[in-house]
């Protein structure tokens, strides 16, 4: 099924590619200056308040994903990682910027093309419970998209579902269950299986292993690795677990309050991080004999509602200088593949 699936995914991509032929070295996906904002207040309270009415959840973020690449997104909770994923799926309409897949800007895509695109792009949602219909059994939830998009002949649907569940570490006996009858980690595996049955070319996996015990987690991470190496699937992997990110990802982007602050090849990021926030984040991982008492304090954080103009990390940054107050630093390439947004990176 996986072989067949992968060829199918390739043919889907080919359909998009027809629109604009591209060579294999161009990225699969290019996000440019993506800005997604949400309304904080309406009507009277908006008129009366002095603060801003909008929250920029994703603030002019740019990055690329190559074919067969696993890009990790890590960072502050609430920094916009899920919002980026949902914008790529076009569940959120960006305020500005572009998301180009195989030469086509999906932010301008019509309904029919969008349907085709969504079949080839799958998201494993951070909250699996709300992404599954509570009135449908696991079987129905997995069958429906397969039949709708005619992914395989109806006679093979059941076999395909069983195989996807098994590979995701869940016995097919759970097919008859409703979502509320499953444990957190079992639901998470259903969500993964559902995404994989579709043989996607690109998967946005939002914290897909956070609710799994370490043994099952190992199984799922190995599965993702196989899908990537054998079939060249591209993955955006959102996680708070830095060790997981290091194991699976080729490159990692670090987010802080709506901004991408650093992006680099995985080993370079872990061994030579440059942004002070990245350093703080990495400082908390893998320390031998780590105890709570020595842990650092989050301290005063950036307040997105107070509309600061300077660097988002200013309030917490141990390296800040006056210039940092003036504007958020632009993204700068310091080495091939290593970009950073910090005025003072040379000092670190």
């Amino acid at each position: 099924m996986w072989e067949e699936g992968a060829t199918f995914a390739a043919s889907c991509m080919a359909m998009v590619e027809k629109a604009a032929p591209v060579d294999k070295n161009t990225p699969l996906l290019s996000v440019r200056d993506l800005l997604v904002r949400f309304k904080l207040r309406d009507g009277l309270s908006a008129a009366l308040s002095r603060g801003p009415t909008y929250l920029k959840a994703v603030d002019e973020v740019s990055f690329d994903i190559g074919r067969g690449e696993v890009l990790g997104l890590v960072g502050e909770s609430g920094s916009g990682k899920t919002t980026i994923g949902k914008a790529i799926l076009r569940l959120y309409e960006p305020q500005s910027g572009s998301i180009v897949v195989n030469g086509v800007d999906i932010t301008r895509m019509g309904d029919r093309a969008l349907k085709r695109y969504r079949r080839d792009l799958q998201m494993v949602f951070q909250d699996p419970l709300s992404s599954l219909n509570p009135r449908h059994t696991v079987r129905t939830s997995l069958r429906t998209p397969l039949l709708l998009h005619k992914i395989c002949p109806p006679s093979e649907v059941e076999k395909r579902i069983d195989e996807a569940l098994t590979r995701s570490g869940l016995s097919p006996v759970f097919k008859a269950r409703y979502p509320h009858e499953l444990s957190g980690g079992q639901l998470q595996r259903v969500a993964i299986a559902r995404a994989l049955t579709m043989s996607p070319g690109l998967v946005v996996a939002d914290e897909p292993v956070s609710k799994l015990d370490v043994s099952v987690r190992a199984q799922i991470l190995n599965l993702f690795k196989d899908l990537q190496t054998k079939f060249g699937i591209s993955i955006i992997f959102i996680t708070h677990d830095l060790r997981v990110a290091r194991y699976l990802c080729h490159r990692i982007g670090v987010m802080y309050f709506g901004k991408l602050v650093e992006i680099a090849p995985v080993e370079e990021l872990f061994t030579a991080p440059k942004h002070p926030y990245t350093k703080a984040l990495l400082g908390t991982v893998g320390a031998e004999g780590e105890s709570l008492d020595g842990a650092q304090v989050a301290g005063e954080a950036f307040n997105p509602a107070a509309d600061t103009t300077g660097c988002r990390y200013y309030a917490r940054c141990p390296m800040r200088v006056d210039r940092c107050k003036t504007a958020h630093p632009p993204m700068e390439t310091i080495k091939s593949g290593h970009d950073i947004a910090c005025y003072e990176w040379r000092r670190s």
Binding site: L40, R41, S45, G51, L55, V74, G75, E76, S77, G78, T82, Q126, D127, L129, S130, L170, S171, V173, H180, E181, L182, S183, G184, G185, Q186, E207, S210, K211, L212, D213, V214, S215, V216, R217, A218, Q219, L221, N222, K225, H240, L242, R243, V244, Y247, A280, L281, T284, V285, E290, S291, L292, A295, Q296, A298, E300, A301, F302, N303, A305, A306
Partner: protein, 329 residues
């Protein structure tokens, strides 16, 4: 007087499904002492959440729970009326749910939830009542404590407008309002980055030290388990297979499942091409083996293991293991 906050003896829970009861948790014995963090780790689907929910009577109607003892600070939870139980749960017993979304009313703003909780906690003591009067300010302070500096804004939002981690922290803030005697925390920090996570763990530590609050702490994160828990219980397929002091469990795991789990956990700390899984098929709840539940995957399995489920054996040093390798007690 014992120093136990919670004593659970022989807890079993099943669900009525299609005319029969499917047992998912059996023979659970545990004790959470005053000011102690008891970690609950183990297989996904092994019954950690169901155990917590059974103790707090939060399971759906088709659940059947039985126990010999469920004692909470001298109160017999089994004989408590539904109404008294609800009072208890709102003030002295609390749960941080694994699924934060489900814990909120989607049509109400965050401020509504906080107000409710402050009013409820206000019945506990005059200090709590005083704080309930100023619930707005107190809420903003509390949200800041859990790492949300723009609390005033967040209070105006609906649950679906918060990120996964913000919702999780808001739920923790709601529980902190009560200052309960026992918190069942079900993977409370899975959606949080390391820095904020440490901050939350310190808040828990503070409750534990300042108010002698006990925790039943469910987690998949071995680093946190090692850091936060005094003792640890390991679950597999509905049973506790090993329980004991944290240090000993980590330095010398006895049960073959615990050994496999810790080996998988360590694999991520070293640079490796492929992660180690515990080989073999995961347990199928409809078709469990007659003897030891781990037997089909266990490399030490022998005929004896298939005969009947092994009993919990005291191996000394406050440790108990459910495995024939350690004798029959």
């Amino acid at each position: 007087m014992s120093d136990a906050t919670l004593t659970v003896r022989n807890l079993a829970t099943g669900f009525k499904m299609g005319g029969r009861v499917m047992n998912v948790v059996r023979e659970v014995n545990l004790e959470v002492r005053k000011g102690e963090v008891l970690g609950l780790i183990g297989e996904s689907g092994s019954g950690k959440t169901v155990t917590g929910m059974s103790i707090l009577r939060l399971l759906p109607d088709n659940a059947v729970t039985e126990a010999d003892t469920l004692d909470f600070l001298g109160t017999d939870l089994l004989s408590l009326s539904a109404e008294r139980f609800r009072e208890m749960r709102g003030t002295r017993l609390a749960m941080v749910f694994q699924d934060p979304v489900g814990a909120f009313n989607p049509s109400k703003k965050i401020s509504w939830h906080l107000k409710q909780v402050f009013e409820r906690a206000g019945t506990k003591s005059p200090e709590h009542a005083a704080r309930a009067k100023n619930w707005r300010q107190a809420s903003i302070k509390l949200l800041a404590d859990v790492g949300i500096p723009h609390g005033a804004n967040v209070m105006r939002q609906y649950p679906h407008q918060l990120s996964g981690g913000m919702l999780q922290r808001t739920l923790i803030a709601l529980v902190l309002v009560f200052e309960p005697d026992l918190i069942v925390a079900d993977e409370p920090t899975t959606n949080l980055d390391n820095i904020v996570e440490r901050q939350i763990l310190r808040l828990f530590r503070d409750l534990q030290k300042r108010l002698d609050c006990g925790f039943l702490y469910v987690t998949h994160d071995m680093t946190i388990a090692a850091m936060l828990c005094d003792r640890i219980a390991v679950m597999y397929a509905g049973s506790i297979v090993e329980i004991g002091p944290t240090k000993q469990i980590f330095s010398d795991p006895k049960h073959p499942y615990t050994q496999g789990l810790l080996a998988s956990a360590l694999a991520l700390d070293t640079k490796t091409e492929r992660l180690q899984e515990i080989p073999g098929e995961l347990p199928n709840p409809g078709n469990l083996p007659p003897g030891c539940l781990f037997e089909p995957r266990c490399k030490f399995a022998k005929a004896e293991c298939r005969a009947k489920p092994p009993a919990m054996t005291d191996v000394g040093g406050g440790r108990n293991v459910r495995c024939v390798l350690y004798g029959h007690g």
